[in-house]
Symmetry: D2
Amino acid sequence: MTDTDDAFELGPTRYGKAEVRLVHIAKSGPERTIKDLNVSIALSGDQAETHLTGDNAKVLTTDAQKNTVYGLAKESGVRSPESFGLLLARHFLGACEFITHARVAVEEYGWDRVPGVNSRHSFQRSGGPTRTALVHADIDGTASVVSGIKDLVLLNATGSEFQGFYKERFTTLPETKDRVLATAVEAQWLHDSADGADWEASYDLATDALLRAFADTYSRSLQQTLYAMGREVLARAGALREIRLALPNRHHFTVDLEPFGLSNDNEVFFPADRPYGLIEGTVRRAGAVPDERPWN
Amino acid sequence: MTDTDDAFELGPTRYGKAEVRLVHIAKSGPERTIKDLNVSIALSGDQAETHLTGDNAKVLTTDAQKNTVYGLAKESGVRSPESFGLLLARHFLGACEFITHARVAVEEYGWDRVPGVNSRHSFQRSGGPTRTALVHADIDGTASVVSGIKDLVLLNATGSEFQGFYKERFTTLPETKDRVLATAVEAQWLHDSADGADWEASYDLATDALLRAFADTYSRSLQQTLYAMGREVLARAGALREIRLALPNRHHFTVDLEPFGLSNDNEVFFPADRPYGLIEGTVRRAGAVPDERPWN
Amino acid sequence: MTDTDDAFELGPTRYGKAEVRLVHIAKSGPERTIKDLNVSIALSGDQAETHLTGDNAKVLTTDAQKNTVYGLAKESGVRSPESFGLLLARHFLGACEFITHARVAVEEYGWDRVPGVNSRHSFQRSGGPTRTALVHADIDGTASVVSGIKDLVLLNATGSEFQGFYKERFTTLPETKDRVLATAVEAQWLHDSADGADWEASYDLATDALLRAFADTYSRSLQQTLYAMGREVLARAGALREIRLALPNRHHFTVDLEPFGLSNDNEVFFPADRPYGLIEGTVRRAGAVPDERPWN
Amino acid sequence: MTDTDDAFELGPTRYGKAEVRLVHIAKSGPERTIKDLNVSIALSGDQAETHLTGDNAKVLTTDAQKNTVYGLAKESGVRSPESFGLLLARHFLGACEFITHARVAVEEYGWDRVPGVNSRHSFQRSGGPTRTALVHADIDGTASVVSGIKDLVLLNATGSEFQGFYKERFTTLPETKDRVLATAVEAQWLHDSADGADWEASYDLATDALLRAFADTYSRSLQQTLYAMGREVLARAGALREIRLALPNRHHFTVDLEPFGLSNDNEVFFPADRPYGLIEGTVRRAGAVPDERPWN
């Protein structure tokens, strides 16, 4: 080692148990309700000793964090990823004085009831998009909630063009007045407050707004569609401050059938895996003060 | 090389283009219909020259096979994975005299219409199970069709026990009278004939039979459930000869909460990734003569 | 249910614990040796009762199978995937009289020693190809061993052409005298006998033969390269009866740079994900009697 | 829509082509050298029009960005992910006046020469860790380079303990004086300057420092090991300002063999998939001013 110890310093740290899989089943007579979550915890605080000397007196083990997920699920049940994330984050702040900040990320996988005589306790995994929640709670009493969705795959078979773009040496893409537009929506939206929201109703409204804005916007670019989607969520879902979207352009290339003596009027497509365009953007309520912390 | 060339011989071969992604969009006025397939082709025949000498005169290129997928989709449309697979397989037999057998495997991914004013051309990918078809066609005029489903994830929250099993040195599993039973169904069923079936109706009936048999069977083992599912498909879907199922046991372990002073009456579960039990079985119409060829 | 019970019958079945992850660490003074395996077990035998009535008296639980992997690893150590697979398969035949056939599939992941003062107990996962073994043992005393490799990714930057292939309506591929040839080798080879082989030496010889035959064969087609690879393994690795190879053609397309006023003399390539050619073939020692059972 | 347009505003945006796969082969007589990259571009600038009105006059298409990757690879070759990323980022700033910031992320996959007569043009993909580079260039003339590595899987078979941690209600983990410690290193380090570095030498030094610090640190916690690894990289690799590490704790649980009458003195382990501890931390050169921009 060529430098003295004074030459370096510990910067920000966080640690926790990631991907704690939890299935919670609630009973009400013969009826069962299922919640299927993937919970990732990251705690911050006074962790210098364990990093610098290996003294672990201020380490709440990640094993105990995992146990906490299961224990609190039993004690309090699971209503929504947002509320369960808040419960956990605030618990950790109270559990140890050396924890000053807690971040809890939750994924929820949907299940539908199987039709038939046993629909009260038989389920099929939905398989569609994943619902997400990202919760921060701080020792100063503040908390934030970001809700979201990912792997929501949408396609417009028409109603999309792409023209009038900039041309330079490497631009060979032909302009088009009618193309397939497809994407896998990843969206996250920040609530005004961590308390008091009806998380289920808010999620349903936001998802519906995303679907409708995608379908109902005549698209001149995926960028335009992105803004329309974000704007519609803020307009309809209520008590939201900001939404961030990442929209991969899942290119559907029209196959050239001319060598075989065939036309192709937007009927036969090759959907490519890679590369893909990726459009990322933010829509905010006017006057909202940007703050990166809830998104970390 | 220590042996003479006479010491070795070429055994069975096949070759083709795998994972040709095809999206076909049909138009009827303002209405669009979408079919989303993944097609894998494997051709067999007189291929000794290319393997032994590099003479490619009897090689139909895999690139041409890919083109054929797109060309035939344009010329004939896409109704079902079974019918499109048959069309392709029989085409290849006629395309080159040196091709004597064609195998076409197709996956189909579902799409739902987005509700709203543009539901005629806006879609959301369903995300649930994948529909499959495996077609063989031979130069002797015979053909076979195996239909199937995979990634159909099912869970019974109760109505499942596991008791009375064999005990030996390494058996420590406690018996249980009430457990969660979950699996990701992979099933394939062989049709009596390659022609004349209503592939859509048959698939819907088979899928419904799988769901209902899983939900409605009080399960003493996943093996028992497997047989019940297979039997129900054969009984209801009609004109089927045999069904094969592979059911991974997606273990949901009851978390031990006693160290925290909590009970756990089948409420809080840890769904494990690996290892998993894997139950594989076959149900046949009585008297059906076993034949491996349609399943290869 | 529209049919009587007599209408259906149970066909072949097998069951077991899949993907049992095992890391075994042997000590010799301060020196450690690591073996990292993924073991999948499938047992067959008299399993009709559990399928038809739910009577589990003849079910050796998959949990006990998992325990057996760990118990035998402790008692006997782990030398090679082949020998450990044989040990397990023969154990299960002796453990319960109702088990008449055992299939054990093993993957091994390699680790290298980290250079430096602690190389005796510090390791880095190799990350290259996975070594495989597939073992069958039957109550009649017979056993078979198939060894293999997968995810061995190879590329020849030159020394490959593709010409003289069949032309028909859908053939548009240009002929080429110089192309990049790349593949991810999946190969399995059947040993003459399940006993007495030096599994490590045999694997090293086979892998070296695959590498050298791929590199040293001037290729007129991937089919030709496949046969050369299979032949070389049989010729060099000894006491092998048959080898099966599956070679995806990982197409490296030459990018057309002419629109930008640039040439491209096999310098700039786009390696595509899908679709891909898939060449499958078998090479046998002359006169070997084909037998599908060891490969199932 | 319940709000007026004035109620919302466009926040930060970026867009580009992601996962452009490039294989570049350089020739020197019969000798070939291969570079295998995955390039993701994200451009920022005056993009309000395309988002708000669909006017694409200031959109450099992502297709053109892809073409640029291939064109510049031809014109300038590919030496390192860092230098190629810088070349691209600075090119885009000059290509269009409305682009004011460019971010280029590059992954590099390693290839080794195959031994033998054709080692000059035959390669095997290494399969080990992936090398990464993240480059930012701004219209104000500044640029930053972050180099990194991921999927570097390391394991210490001994020389690791975990004791003296905090105990509360949910803490049941036993203390241990001797455990297996394993992780998949993801590390990124920020260079003092975007110009003048020997990127190859720097990467080799940093990787060697990570390996040696992991192996040579007697570990009281993974946190302690993380700091030691980060410190060693800064101390040895030179001209670095900061390093960030994310270390998943790949738990290797000692299997309880007592029910089978067997001991287990750290010989037989179950490596779990999920959940896993995740330790994240930063080490900085003393006095370095934190700046998030190079890491975005």
